[in-house]
């Protein structure tokens, strides 16, 4: 069906965008906590130090996901705005 989108469709897009933003904020906080967690360099064995490096990579991975979420949220909002501008979602 290619008629004009309904208001609930646009609301769903905006709700999902908000979910992505909230989740991204949480992930950024998690990444920061992992990075600042007690240090790795002093931990007990070479195995644990290796893990500390991988914790650093995990924090970086979290930031990648967070950034992607923020990007998707932005695009969803922009799409909703464009649809509204075309006269949809009324």
């Amino acid at each position: 069906m290619s008629g004009l989108p309904s208001a609930p469709d646009l609301r769903a897009l905006l709700t999902l965008a908000a979910s992505f933003d909230a989740s991204a904020e949480t992930l950024r906080a998690r990444a920061s906590a992992v990075r600042q967690s007690p240090h790795a360099a002093g931990w007990y064995s070479s195995g644990a130090r290796a893990f500390a490096r991988s914790a650093e990579e995990a924090a970086a991975g979290l930031l990648v996901v967070a950034r992607r979420q923020e990007g998707v949220a932005l695009e969803l909002r922009s799409l909703a705005a464009a649809i509204t501008a075309r006269g949809g979602g009324r």
Partner: protein, 414 residues
């Protein structure tokens, strides 16, 4: 001149690092869960064809955007999976380290200590020393021989069964009034031990409750609890006798402990006043059980315990994490080994091994000859666990004045 010390436990101990590692594992799991939640939301939306009413081009655009989160092969799901794996590996590493620590306390280690001690004792006999002297030197060479004996002779299981049944009567607390001789507020660990040594020279069962006001204006309480003065194994009014040892060794309540709690109440200690308990030998065991019961029942706010030469390995682990313990143990003192258990490596339990004494059982256990200089060594140490303990106890150690109330605890039988 100070002697080197060695330290286990405390804020810089292995267990604290394990706690840190487990905390990071928890963080990674929570982060994975956050990603999994958003993936679930996106899959749910996709199932109900979010964007289906938007028109073909817009629908395609939404679908492309969400693919990063709905596809299990895309970064979001893969990151969550990896975080779960990292958390599991970290927990596995902690478990492996803990197992290795347990294994290091093996029978082989224990038996090597026995062999060295026997060799030293035999050498002393060959050099013409008497059997008593040879035995003392053997024990001082490696007091862990006592741990081995306690653990492999069945002695501990006998104490565990019999100790709590020892007749202990009920406490009778006499008020000795203000002790104006004890008028110097302690400034460091050595001063705490010195004050305990002064109390130790008093009556059997004499304890003190001292009030200090720290630089922060908060009133605090320091309690001195001396050790054994009577070796009478029977029913005696001396609360420091062997029955208290037998009970306290396995954590059973004692009249001595209840007497200390009564003394605290009579001296006017409020349930909010931070309290530091300082005990020597049996007094240290009593301090640990007093702290445990006072905090559990909410009667007193015991925040710190300092023990000197006390076998608390089987009981100190029962203390709440909010009670911080510094256990001074002289390397050649056999008494801390009488329970056959090392102090657990906990964030709130710092064990400081010092090296003083002349190789005889009494001197190596003595407050003035061994533990006061040992405490001084700890004061000078830069060890992170020791510094952390001292820093946390600063309010007890920076007061300008002190008011000391002395009591005597005895025991009566119905």
């Amino acid at each position: 001149m100070s002697s080197p010390i060695s330290v286990t436990g405390g804020d810089d101990g292995t267990s604290a690092r394990f706690e840190d590692m487990l905390a990071v594992a928890g963080m990674l799991d929570r982060a994975a869960r956050d990603i999994e939640e958003i993936v679930t939301v996106v899959r749910f939306q996709s199932r109900f064809q979010l964007g289906a009413g938007l028109g073909a081009a817009d629908e395609m655009r939404v679908s492309r955007l969400l693919a990063d989160f709905s596809d299990p092969q895309q970064p979001a799901a893969l990151t969550a999976l990896r975080l779960r794996g990292d958390a599991a590996r970290l927990r596995g590493a902690v478990a492996a380290y803990q197992q290795a620590d347990d294994d290091s306390a093996s029978l082989i280690d224990a038996m090597s200590g026995v062999l060295v001690a026997v060799a030293v004792g035999a050498g002393a006999l060959l050099r013409g020393r008497g059997p008593a002297d040879a035995a003392q030197r053997a024990l001082a060479t490696d007091p862990s021989v006592v741990d081995t004996f306690v653990n492999y002779s069945g002695a501990m299981s006998v104490v565990t069964r019999v100790g709590p049944r020892y007749p202990d009567g009920h406490p009778v607390v006499g008020d000795l009034g203000l002790d104006r001789r004890a008028n110097l507020a302690p400034g460091d660990l050595a001063a705490l031990v010195e004050s305990l040594a002064v109390r130790n020279e008093g009556l059997a069962g004499e304890v003190s409750v001292a009030f200090v006001v720290g630089a922060d204006g908060i009133r605090r309480v320091i309690v001195d609890i001396p050790g054994t003065k009577s070796w009478n194994p029977g029913a005696t009014c001396d609360v420091t006798s062997l029955s208290t040892n037998a009970r306290a060794l396995v954590g059973a309540p004692t009249s001595y402990e209840r007497g200390v709690l009564i003394a605290l109440a009579r001296a006017g200690v409020r349930h909010t006043d931070p309290v530091l308990l300082v005990g020597h030998s049996e007094g240290g065991m009593v301090a640990v059980e007093t702290a445990r019961d006072a905090v559990r029942r909410g009667r007193f706010n015991v925040t710190h315990v300092v023990t000197a030469g006390s076998p608390i390995g089987r009981t100190v682990g029962s203390l709440p994490a909010g009670v911080r313990v510094l256990a001074l143990e002289n390397a050649t003192d056999v008494v801390p080994h009488l329970d056959g258990a090392s102090n657990p490596d906990r964030r709130n339990v710092t064990t400081v091994t010092v090296h003083h004494g002349d190789g005889t059982i009494s001197d190596d256990h003595d407050l003035r000859d061994s533990y006061e200089p040992g405490a001084h060594d700890a004061d000078l140490s830069a060890n992170a666990s020791v510094r952390d303990f001292v820093h946390s106890a600063q309010g007890f150690l920076d007061a300008a004045a002190i008011r000391t109330h002395a009591f005597v605890v005895t025991r009566a039988y119905p």
